[in-house]
Symmetry: C2
Subunit: 442 residues, 2 copies
């Protein structure tokens, strides 16, 4: 636990309060201990997007803040980098700059700070903002770090062979599509594609009938590595800027027909939705937990192992998926929770993803996005996809209003929420990741 | 054949000669009928990269050409777009602009052109140039369009099930890594990774011992499509800027262990090499050939079918792979040809790749790269990968100098060449795509 405490500092102090009143409200996602980053502009305007930091129900506009004299030393270039329309330049600066900016923000936003007057003029209410994808995502890689998901879904695609022999050795990952990643609020058309009906020998072409979600976390790469160089475990987290929520929409019928031998393609690349706010690894420090393997499972190969990873490689992030049907929306109801789990169940850690990805010399670049893969927990109600929650569509979910669902219907909206909470630390949240299914495009 | 003739115009006339003398030399890749695009700068300088057009042994510097008064009308914005450090802006303009620029270049570079004096000052010898990756590649997708490759490699990875049931229906593709794409001349370290030795139950970590090539063509997307929109077959080629040579380096031992269930990852993403010159689809028009399926094979589903595709969807591009070992290099020998084939054998066309990729609403963007997949022809000596040429390493290739090879050794260089040649049309070439294997990084 020494390692964990070393990463904690004054910015995590639970008693800290902000002069932005709502930041001190119980249960709010963005207290002064969080300070996540997004890009935003005022809704309905043609303003340039720029970086912002969430504080309570407000956004500190980094472009406006950069024009004040509040930030000095190492924080000054960081706040200027954060003022751009994408966060890549801030991400590229690396941990010392990120830490300096976090410390400066924390001090300036505290109750009683001398900077209050200058920064109060730089606030934009979140209710008046719209968000952009926070980085130019050069490459997007999706991992497969939940052994429970791999087993559950493997059972359906390969009943005789659910968990493949490589799973416990290799942090399985594959490349995804960067161009179709959108920010929370994304609305996308149900995809068309080829599917093989049960019992048929020839495929048919039409709308996907098995449209699913995948509850994931996204990991934004901060500073990159040169092509040919690898990032050892001891350095891996220095290349990570922060985490967001991610919904990897999946057309299961298209996937089943197309995925062999080269993996999912059109079943995934029509849309991927992420939350606007990136919660930094530093903000998450109080929620680190040991990385453990079940009794009898192999330990990671040495290149994927480190003392720090064993002691505190995992993160206890609570995750929840809500479904809002058109009927629920029309009745003024909120979304119904269909899954609750935690990131702590993942079989591979963030550091292991980074190190594995680069062990062959593959270069990561600032703004690259890594998906965790579906984060199903050990029990059925912790499953992060409908194909698991409904056992391949066999057992529909009964919703509180009497409707039921196997896969998504047109008009359905899905919202992912995430937060961290425990005694002795401030609760911090991720906001939400919302996406809506539109009918097939006419 | 009507369709083919409609796409031909004065720029393809075989009798055309250029005032750049070498462009008229027999066997040269870059006659006035070709006019491919690259980005370049003078070798060993810190000049900005800018677009260029190959003509004989020279490059027409588009930044310099844009500063003359040679280009007017629709060609003027095109030449300005081509002057940038990447070709994305030119690619985004679309076919009418590309055609206007091609016509203007063809006229200005012809023997007797009034523009000779102005443009002669804009030439840079190819021998003095170095090249860059020609576009910001937002996403890179690799297809699998050779049924011969799919069958040959399938036999080795799945002896009981070489060609999967989806192959003849789905233009199989998967997402690749954009960040590690380099231009001809790329040198990369042999990758490290996990492999499962024969008979072992636990993997080992170390250098790949089965480093291979994949002979491919790369297809650069020109104008894109919006997320949610699909590109029908009739429009597909309007979204294609041109083609280059591509070597999809592959670590077969890493691939065999990691690829299930989500496809190749670290076995591919350490390096991909492309040729600097992009030969436009218009330059290739004389080499269009009918797209045919073997007797008894299913016809493509309607969304992947069109009369134009059947009549002229395939391209007869001759392809050749050469291997140059350190011993051959030391002896002053040239590379040894290990494969000769043609792109006409592909099972799916360029138009089918574009249409399939977007049928679910996935958005392509200017500068995106599509790989054809390994272009093995029907016979063994036409195979585009060592794993096929050596039957999985069982039958080494005997090289002319007495050496033999199963997979690549450190110091080996591989060069891909491509050209089109037939009676009644000018021969055009792609230049070369060269890459060299360095030892594992210390």
């Amino acid at each position: 636990m020494t390692l964990i405490n070393e990463t904690l500092n004054e910015t995590h102090e639970p008693a800290l309060r902000s002069w932005v009143a709502y930041a001190n409200a119980a249960g709010n996602d963005f207290p002064i201990q969080n300070l996540p980053f997004a890009v935003f502009r005022r809704k309905g305007t043609l303003e340039a997007f720029r970086g912002g930091v969430a504080i309570g129900d407000q956004i500190l506009d980094l472009a406006a803040a950069a024009a004040t004299d509040v930030f000095s030393g190492e924080a000054a270039p960081a706040v200027h980098a954060g003022a751009h329309d994408k966060l890549n330049d801030l991400m590229a600066l690396g941990p010392p700059s990120w830490r300096a900016l976090r410390r400066a923000l924390s001090r300036a936003l505290r109750e009683g700070a001398a900077e209050q007057a200058a920064l109060a003029a730089c606030l934009v209410p979140q209710s008046e903002a719209e968000y952009g994808v926070p980085a130019r995502i050069g490459d997007y890689t999706d991992f497969y770090t939940s052994v429970h998901h791999a087993t559950n879904i493997g059972r359906q695609f390969r009943p005789d062979n659910p968990l493949l022999p490589n799973y416990k050795w290799v942090p399985i990952g594959y490349h995804g599509r960067a161009s179709s990643i959108g920010v929370s609020g994304q609305r996308f058309h149900r995809p068309m594609g080829q599917t093989l009906p049960p019992g048929a020998t020839q495929p048919v072409f039409g709308p996907s009938k098995r449209l699913d979600i995948e509850l994931e976390l996204g990991i934004f790469v901060g500073s990159g590595n040169a092509l040919g160089e690898s990032v050892p475990m001891a350095q891996a987290e220095n290349h990570v800027f922060g985490l967001c929520l991610l919904n990897d929409w999946s057309a299961r019928d298209i996937q089943a027909w197309e995925y062999q031998p080269l993996g999912p393609f059109l079943s995934k690349n029509f849309a991927t939705t992420i939350s606007p706010w990136i919660v930094t690894l530093e903000a998450l420090a109080p929620y680190r937990v040991p990385f453990t393997r079940p009794e009898g499972d192999p330990q990671p190969l040495p290149y994927l192992d480190s003392e720090t990873n064993r002691q505190q490689g995992s993160l206890d992030i609570e995750l929840q998926v809500g479904l809002l049907t058109p009927q629920m929306r029309d009745a003024g109801q909120g979304d119904a929770t269909i899954c609750r789990t935690s990131y702590r169940h993942a079989y591979w850690t963030v550091a292991q993803m980074v190190t594995h990805h680069t062990v062959n010399g593959c270069n990561l670049q600032p703004g690259d996005l890594l998906g965790s893969g579906t984060l199903s927990g050990p029990t059925l109600d912790q499953a992060g996809a409908l194909i698991e929650l409904t056992t391949g569509g066999k057992h529909p979910l009964l919703l509180p209003n009497g409707e039921n669902r196997t896969y998504l219907q047109d008009g359905d909206a899905v919202v992912i929420r995430g937060w961290c909470e425990k005694a002795g630390a401030a609760r911090i949240g991720f906001g939400q990741c919302l996406g809506t299914v539109l009918p097939v495009r006419a």
